[in-house]
């Protein structure tokens, strides 16, 4: 069979080198110019208890999601892999470990569950790993060697990757892993005829790989991040680790604080001092930050908060994806507390979007909540990021010399933005507060002042419209079925739309990195042109749908997916087909 797209899953227990398998395969594929997307699924426990899997999808054309189904399942351990058999496509393949057969009970044996429409291939994974490394390590490389032969991929690209992934562990580790790879390759060559061939365009250039978390960290640093304060939390910690390593080289610093309240507090302090600062967190952390976000609103101190969403509520599902934090991002504060909410849908938007977040926060003196999610944050994908490096970027409104004469920190202006001086700069001093205040910043509780100041804080959201990107409309403009989506679900929606198109149903999508504020004119026009509107998202309540309903008065078909895995494009396609058949009734 000839393939131009393949999805492979490695299934093992935590500590089995599953993540490294994904890394090597992804790196190798990207190196020969393929498009790749990798999703790791693991449990919240570190070793011994949890199952871990890495799914790698690679293709000769652009990928938007993890797709549906597996072409190949690699069962590094027997029992834990059984449940993944149901994801294998009809006609798909399974590689199982024949060196463990007999040592596990039949009901726990992967091979005894393989159904006739799936083809099983035995490989002595553990035995060959032992032969190569003298330990149980290297199982993943034995399997990768077999895969390389199985799809007739060039072995050199893998050897390259092994060298780079294990470079920090020394030559011996590299050698035994290459040996494990070769043993797997040779075993398959000896025992199975070459039936499959993956189409490779030899002219393709190597592609860059990144994760959403990496892209956010890099985007922030490239646009002048000087200070990061955070508290470790899955799945956002990676952003902090990058900042901790990179910022000192650029004259900045990263602080691990005692909790998330302290983290956002320090970030506000740094912004008060005129420095671009950021924190990154997830559900439990953003909950703790809500009072400080309100302080940012009231005192008009800029701040940027990345929330890499995971399953909730409470501690929830730390290692699973969900888009359940839209409501807390939009409304999680006492009083009338407007804030900017953004949601990137892929790694490219993580990079460019976080830079926009900084520009908006600084210019309009407002909190910006940047909603990524676990899938987007951790998945590794091939990208084309347009670098934009300017580490001295500053969009703060500074006072004119006239304004400095009698400095009013909260001067009433047409656009709602008042001039801001920062400590260390000569000219004027002021004090700020989370209390309602007059134009000087002094506490003031008069009704007129409160009305005037509240209106000023909201007015900024009108004036910032000019700086915001347009909403994009993708798909077929003439379609009667319209979809509105947000965040990483967009990728699954785009592939669902492709499937529907192949089935003769036209659709279009409106997507915007801006959740609030939004280009309402464009959304209204889009919705007016649709006979059916579908709003899919990864939560139980339909949080984005609720926003769109109240904002635009629409009555959409809501698709609520309280997710633990990325959304299936087939599921989206199915909803499109349903809507289509209702239309033609």
């Amino acid at each position: 069979m000839k393939y131009s797209e393949i999805t492979i899953r490695f299934c093992g227990i935590a500590g089995d080198g599953i993540v490294a398998s994904g890394k090597i395969l992804a790196g190798a594929c990207a190196y020969i110019g393929l498009h790749v997307m990798v999703n790791n699924i693991y449990s919240a426990e570190i070793r011994g208890l949890g199952k871990s899997s890495a799914t790698i999808r690679f293709s000769t054309s652009k990928l938007y999601s993890m797709g549906d189904g597996l072409d190949l399942l690699v069962g590094m351990v027997s029992k834990e892999s059984i449940i993944d058999l149901r994801n294998v496509k009809a006609g798909g393949n399974v590689i199982y470990d024949i060196s463990t057969i007999g040592s596990v009970a039949e009901e726990d044996s992967l091979v005894s569950h393989i159904t006739p429409e799936i083809q099983g291939h035995g490989l002595p994974i553990k035995k060959l790993a032992n032969e190569a490394t003298g330990t149980n390590q290297g199982k993943n490389l034995v399997a990768i060697g077999a895969i390389c032969y199985f799809y007739s991929l060039p072995p050199e690209m893998f050897v390259n990757q092994i060298n780079s992934v294990f470079a920090h562990k020394g030559q011996h580790i590299i050698d035994v892993n290459v040996k494990a790879f070769n043993l797997g390759y040779e075993y398959f060559k000896e025992h199975y005829p070459l039936n499959n061939r993956f189409e490779i365009d030899k002219e393709s250039e190597p592609r860059a790989l990144t994760s959403g978390n990496d892209a956010i960290a890099k985007g922030a640093i490239d646009c002048g991040l000087k200070f990061f304060a955070g508290y470790p939390i899955t799945p956002a910690t990676k952003i902090m680790e990058i900042a901790a390593k990179e910022l000192p080289k650029l004259g900045g610093w990263t602080l691990q604080m005692e909790d998330e309240i302290a983290a956002i507090g320090a970030v506000l302090g740094a912004w008060f001092a005129g420095k671009r600062a950021m924190t990154a967190t997830s559900g439990p952390g953003i909950s703790l930050m809500s009072e400080m976000i309100n302080m940012s609103v009231m005192a008009e101190i800029p701040t940027v908060i990345v929330n890499v969403q995971r399953g909730g509520p409470s501690t929830g599902l730390p290692t699973k994806v969900e888009q359940g934090d839209l409501n807390i991002a939009l409304y999680g504060g006492a009083g009338d507390s407007p804030r900017v909410v953004m949601a990137p849908s892929n790694s490219e938007e993580c990079y460019s979007g976080i830079q926009l977040a900084f520009d908006i926060a600084e210019k309009y003196q407002t909190p910006v909540i940047f909603l990524s999610d676990l899938f987007l944050g951790q998945r590794i994908e091939t990208v084309t990021i347009k670098e934009n490096i300017d580490r001295d970027r500053c969009t703060r409104k500074k006072p004119t010399s006239e304004q400095l004469e009698d400095f009013l920190r909260y001067q009433i202006t047409d656009d709602g933005v008042s001039p801001m001086v920062v400590p260390g700069e000569p000219g004027a001093v002021y004090s700020t507060t989370g209390l309602e205040h007059s134009v000087t910043g002094n506490p003031n509780y008069e009704s007129d002042v409160h009305s005037m100041m509240t209106a000023k804080r909201f007015r900024k959201f009108e004036s910032m419209m000019a700086d915001l990107p347009h909403a994009n409309i993708l798909g077929d403009e003439t379609a009667e079925i319209g979809i509105a989506g947000w965040g990483s679900t967009i990728g699954s929606i785009l592939e669902g739309m492709e499937i529907a198109k192949k089935n003769g149903v036209k659709t279009k999508l409106i997507k915007s990195i801006m959740i609030h504020p939004q280009r309402e004119d464009l959304f209204l026009k889009f919705f007016a042109s649709c006979k059916k509107i579908i709003v899919p998202e990864m939560n139980y309540q339909g949080q984005y749908a609720a926003l769109l309903k109240s904002r635009y008065g629409i009555k959409p078909i809501e698709v609520h997916i309280p997710a633990v895995e990325p959304v299936s494009p087939l599921k989206i396609a199915q909803k499109i087909m349903e809507a289509n058949s209702e239309l033609s009734k």
Binding site: K226, F227, A229, K245, P248, G251, W253, L255, M257, E258, D259, I261, A262, A263, G265, A266, V267, L268, G269, A270, W271, F272, A273, G274, K275, A277, E291, M292, M295, A299, P423, G424, E425, P426, G427, A428, V429, Y430, S431, T432, T433, G434, L435, N442, P443
Partner: protein
């Protein structure tokens, strides 16, 4: 009983204002007559004056409570933050702009109650901050409820049958947390307050001042009189490098010692950052 009357402090304030540019705040302190906080404010004025800190480089950060209003009465930048969160905000300011002089001012509820989780980490990190905790053993701005430093059995609106918990001692906490400058003052002693605040600001590293600052309106148990009778200066021979001896003296409730308990000059947070920036510490 001898303490600064509001009148005296206002005179001081006017004097200070007259001697400065117009950037001195026009705001008059809002505390009740007799409040201990006037002495702390005066001490901060004196320190800024003595150390010639330019207002543009002077930042005072506070939490919520009576002491929270400090930023509105000083000449410099001020941030009246959230209840208990002055320390992390000040940390962000100082780490982002190390050349600034950053002083944190807060009360007992703010510092060892709601914000009690921040104090140890600022101390052990040896950030170059000065933290003045004005302790009146009461929640004054909410009109008199027990605080983490209120004595046992003290009755209040929220402890009508008497306080059941033992009081915290902020001085011993600071010593235990590893603060590198620890002093206790009493708002009756104006000169000592000014002198120690000045020393604290000059100290390189985390400096802590536990200022006993009575609430004359709501606290009928911990008062000028009760502290007056017990407060004495530290023995002259006390060695300020002896942390365990300092701890013993700080634990004493009769007498209550005032003065500089402990001071050591070790690498501050800023020094560690400099070492990294100079390439002396590398990641693996």
């Amino acid at each position: 009983m001898s303490f600064l009357s509001k009148k005296t402090v206002l005179e001081e304030f006017e004097k200070a204002k007259a001697s400065k540019t117009k950037q001195w705040r026009d705001n008059l302190p809002t505390w009740c007559p007799g409040c201990g906080h006037f002495t702390g404010l005066h001490g901060l004025y004196e320190a800024a004056e003595t150390l010639k800190i330019p207002p543009k480089d002077f930042v005072v950060v506070s939490g919520i409570g009576c002491s929270g209003r400090f930023p509105f009465f000083i000449k410099g930048f001020g941030l009246h933050g959230l209840h208990g969160r002055a320390i992390p905000i000040a940390t962000g300011i100082k780490v982002a702009s190390p050349d600034l002089t950053v002083v944190v001012v807060g009360g007992d509820g703010d510092g060892v109650g709601i914000g009690g989780g921040h104090f140890p980490h600022a101390a052990r990190s040896n950030f170059n901050l000065t933290y003045i905790l004005l302790d009146n053993s009461i929640y004054g701005l909410t009109k008199g409820q027990i605080s983490p430093t209120s004595p046992m059995s003290m009755k209040s609106g929220t402890s009508p049958y008497g306080n059941i918990a033992r009081p915290l001692n902020p001085t011993t906490l600071a010593l235990a947390y590893g603060a590198t400058f620890v002093a206790r003052t009493f708002s009756r002693e104006r000169d000592m307050v000014s002198e120690l605040i000045t020393k604290a600001i000059s100290h390189k590293g985390f400096s802590f001042i536990h200022d006993l600052s009575p609430c004359v309106v709501f606290n009928k148990v911990v008062t000028y009189d009760s502290w007056n009778d017990a407060a004495v200066k530290l023995p002259e021979e006390h060695d300020t490098l002896d942390r365990s001896r300092a701890m013993m003296l700080a634990e004493s409730t009769d007498p209550i010692y005032q003065g500089l308990f402990f001071r050591e000059e070790i690498a501050s947070f800023d020094d560690h950052v400099q070492m990294v920036k100079d390439g002396l510490n590398q990641p693996d």
